[in-house]
Amino acid sequence: MKKLHNSHPPPYPLPSREGKIGEGVFVIPCTVKKDRVKDLLITASEEWDAFVPWKGPEEDVQFVKLPDEKRKNFLDRLSLEDGAPLIPPKTVIFPQLESLFEFEEGKIKEMIPSPTKKLLFGLRACDVKAILFVDDFFKRNFEDIYYLNRTMNKLLVLVGCKTPPRDCFCTSTKTGPFLPVPRSLGEVGKEGFDLQLVDIGKKYLVEVGSEKGKEFIGNYQDFFEEASKKDVELSKAMKKKAEEAVTLKIDFEKAIKNFCEDKISQIIYEKIAERCIYCGGCLYICPTCTCFNIFDGKKGDRGKRSRNWDACVFEGYTREASGHNPRAEKWLRTSRRYEHKLKYNYLTTGMSGCVGCGRCLATCPVNLGMSKLIQEVTK
């Protein structure tokens, strides 16, 4: 095996999750009645910008900010029962298009988002893991003020999937459908969530993942009740059932190992590259992808500099002004996409860049996706 490229390679297999589900509960959990969730959100939205999975009239679910008016009607379309929405909550924390600054006659006006309090309610486990991943990325080396300002005051409330969509494989990546409850509470949850809700029929069992989560319960204690032993038992059963409902199983650990040991043949990449129609969708939609482009626009001496989502599958992504392009061939870009997630992310951070949400397959017009590749390379 070739020497690994960073000095302290994390050992395989992925260490992301040791504790067993339902164990290690630190704070005595409480419950919230399902029919009080709306009121909780309405009350909390006095203080927080609340973002919830919301099913529009077209039945498409997406994270949407609770409007200032008619909240109750709006929440009739709250969607906590469906699987993860196709479009990840990344749009909330890292929008597709963001202005960096405006300028006029040479004077620059920064456009840094204000650090509003954001309550992301109804996240799925995979998305919590992804946010944790992206948080870490934007803090490492240089701090990205645009991202950090948007996200520094956020509270992540996970509602575990009951019936996960067919494309996900989070049990294989060990990123869901529920996350283990940490044994001690840090300022930010080690698993990423601040609160985790388990559907136990007429109510949710609420597990606490951080001090911030605990505080939230304290601030809105009217909505919460103490959980009974039975509730806790029920929640364990629910978690198990949810876990079994994820039917797509892949050998993720072996895939990571094969990637880290450079065992993936070029032919596999070439096959994918040939079929890919370069829509960029799989990367745009990936909850852990963060690549962006920076561009200017102006008219006369007024204009702005902005950044927007970019993706490494594009030929121009690495083409230099001289025309030289180190990744001119299609398969190289394909290999970049997969290796970044399954090898380099893992080797540099210990977290893989894939959280098993299955979105890349769901959005691909030609039916390519992470799970398919992994099946191929672990055959």
Binding site: P95, I277, T363, P365
Partner: protein, 677 residues
């Protein structure tokens, strides 16, 4: 805030959401449940948000005074436009005016444009860019089937067993249809026959690839029919019961044995025979075509021949079959449907038909609507150059880059007495204008688009119009009012749709409520009608389908000693037409930053030209300079130039020779030469 709308780029008509934050568009992404997008978009859809914010958007009306544009108020600009147009009408007669509508604007706006032209200015001189892409489809399919639209639906591609793709670079131009073909072939083992002079992406998946000489389509289609008839592979029952004129067709195609076809087209005869058998013997076989078929002097013949082929084998009127013209622009189908054509009102109701005119006169409360068909785009520019068209009103089109033989078009624009441009950007054409009216973009207004599969679907307002710009329908209505016509006032576009429905049988059952959430496919004649996924079920729209035999005629201009290359033009995946939107999208512009000409490496070697080298490509009409891209996609002796780039506008070279019936120009072949510089 998110709002569901319809993509502004191609005819697939994907459903996409626009995301807005504080009154600004900050993203676009697919709808999972939309029947076309199904959770996916192509790269243009994923980046459809950027150009809306472009600082170059037109935001105030501009009036030209002594060669310079001056900003003006709406009132002043609109008064000027209506006064000038009325004055020209008075002085030179209604037919000295012409109107170009737009396949980029909504159905409602196209309807208003034609209402304005016909009811207010009493001229049928109204047309739009469909003339340049699918006019031959409209004419050809109407003659054979009775309806000039795509017969089947996009989702039927998912169930078809064979695709005959010709003159459509589907993965580049209609990515979400292309992807369905790839999936069908790779995952389900469907058969694929590609007939194209270029080695397009889909040929990688083709069972049979026939690389015909550009412009010889009628010959190979007749050749296939020759084989099918000779081998008795045609659907005799279907032909007998549902079609007419078979004997004549049979007689004519006798002249096209595979040997002869091989000589004309360079398609090996065995391949042709194989393809003919495969197509005839597969039940669920769909024909798809696009501009490679239509943009020829024989465009109408090409279309009719494909229709003949499909009828002969009983491949029309059933799911996953049919003749499927893939319409280019997002709303080119709608612009045709709504009567932005010189010879028909909305719903293809003929202007020559007294009863139809009576109906419109009553509804619009006007008298003497003009009865003679008006001029087509190509004729409008010809007449403008001759000084016969004095005033031209162009909404959302850029003929100074998109029309053939640009030098002539630009001369015509200069000659006009009065030119009004209504657009979202200062286009190449706008520079010739007397008045430029700033229009709202698709994100800033309500309306409907009709996609290639006849799906009428909503676009929805996500943000306020930028600056002082206004939706096209409001501008048109304002002009109408100022010309003294009050029958053109609306509160919102849904009222226009109600008027459309009341006057247009194929849209008869359509209203905004019924279009929720993902639209309806016309014909939808009544309020309860569920829409029509595929046409000609049990019976052709015109009753019996007509075989119209077409003999082969060579293209207008072929390579010769001097101009020794066959030049074709078209689009690339990353860009859209004249690039007004896609070149203002940083990612798309980065992917294909400049103009290039595709050339076969063998030709390049002979001319000692290297990859990336600058050359001059010239035809009898003009010359442009651009870089060479070596690729085996093009045949030896052929060239291909994308027409998006203003710095090297391909249409300086193209031949304005037109199809005699559909008046579509021959973009797909002309003679050109290449010189090193």
């Amino acid at each position: 805030m998110r709002i569901l709308t319809t993509c502004i780029y191609c005819g697939c008509g994907c459903g996409l959401y626009l995301e807005s934050e504080s009154g600004k568009i900050v993203g676009s992404y697919p709808s999972r449940n939309h029947p076309v997008s199904k959770g996916a978009l192509c790269v243009k859809g994923w980046n459809a948000y950027e150009f809306i914010n472009s600082p170059d958007r037109l935001t105030v009306p501009l009036v030209k005074s002594s060669d310079n544009f001056k900003e003006s108020g709406w009132n002043e600009a609109l008064n000027l436009v209506s006064e000038k147009l009325l004055q020209i009408k008075e002085e030179y007669g209604p037919d000295s005016l012409a109107f170009l509508s737009s396949a980029k604007t909504t159905n409602e706006e196209n309807f208003l444009m034609m209402k304005l032209a016909r009811a207010v200015f009493k001229t049928n001189n109204i047309d739009h860019c469909a003339r340049l892409c699918h006019a031959s489809t409209v004419v050809g399919l109407a003659a054979t089937f009775g309806s000039g639209a795509m017969t089947n639906s996009i989702n039927e591609f998912e169930k078809a067993d064979l695709f005959l793709v010709t003159g459509s670079d589907t993965t580049e131009q209609h990515p979400l249809i292309g992807s369905r073909i790839i999936n069908a072939v790779v995952d389900r083992g469907a058969e694929l026959i590609v007939v194209d002079p270029r080695r397009i992406e889909l040929t990688k998946y083709a069972n049979i690839f026939m690389q015909q000489d550009n412009g010889t389509d009628v010959a190979w289609i007749n050749g296939m029919m020759n084989v099918i008839i000779k081998e008795r592979l045609y659907d005799q029952k279907y032909v007998e019961e549902r079609t007419e004129n078979f004997a004549e067709l049979k007689e004519m195609v006798k002249d096209y044995p595979p040997e002869k076809v091989e000589k004309i087209t360079k398609i090996p005869k065995n391949l042709l025979i194989q393809a003919a058998r495969l197509y005839a013997q597969t039940k669920k076989a769909m024909i798809l075509y696009s501009m490679g078929i239509t943009q020829h002097t024989t465009g109408t013949d090409n279309v009719k021949s494909l229709a003949n082929l499909a009828m002969l084998t009983g491949h029309v009127g059933l799911p996953s079959t049919g003749v499927n013209p893939l319409r280019g622009q997002n709303n080119v189908q709608g612009a045709c449907d709504l009567g932005a054509l010189p010879n028909v009102f909305s719903g293809y109701q003929k202007v020559g038909d007294k009863a139809v005119r009576d109906k419109f006169e009553r509804a619009w409360k006007v008298e003497s609507l003009p009865a003679d068909p008006g001029l087509t785009v190509t004729e409008i520019f010809k007449k403008a150059k001759e000084g016969k068209i004095k005033g031209l009103y162009i909404m959302g089109e850029n003929p100074a880059l998109s029309d053939p033989d640009l030098t002539q078009v630009r001369k015509a624009l200069e000659k006009l007495e009065f030119l009004v441009i209504q657009d979202i950007f200062m286009s190449e054409t706008a520079e010739y204008a007397d008045v430029v009216l700033p229009a709202a973009s698709f994100a800033e207004k309500d309306g409907t688009f009709t996609n290639t599969e006849r799906r009428v679907q909503r676009i929805r307002k996500a943000i306020e119009p930028k600056g002082k710009s206004k939706p096209d329908w409001q501008i048109l209505s304002e002009i109408g009012k100022r010309c003294g016509y009050s029958g053109i006032e609306y509160q919102d576009p849904s009222q226009i749709m109600d008027e459309i429905a009341s006057l247009t049988p194929i849209y008869g059952g359509i209203s905004y409520e019924r279009l929720e959430p993902f639209g309806l496919q016309w014909p939808c004649p009544a309020k309860e009608h569920p829409g029509t996924p595929y046409l000609h079920k049990d019976k052709f729209a015109k009753g019996k389908g007509s075989f119209i035999p077409c003999p082969y005629v060579a293209p207008d201009e072929l390579p010769d000693e001097e101009y020794n290359f066959a030049l074709s033009t078209g689009r690339v995946y990353w860009h859209w037409h004249t690039g007004t939107m896609s070149r203002r999208t940083s990612l798309l512009d980065r992917e294909v930053p400049g103009a290039y000409v595709e050339m076969h490496p063998a030709d390049a070697e002979q001319l000692k030209i290297k990859e990336g080298e600058k050359v001059e490509v010239s035809s009898r009409r003009g010359e442009i300079e651009l870089a060479v891209k070596l690729t085996k996609k093009v045949k030896e002796g052929s060239l291909f130039i994308p027409f998006h780039v203003r710095e090297a506008a391909a249409n300086v070279l193209t031949n304005p020779a037109i199809d005699p019936i559909a008046k579509i120009p021959e973009y797909k072949i002309c003679a050109a030469k290449v010189e090193k510089i």
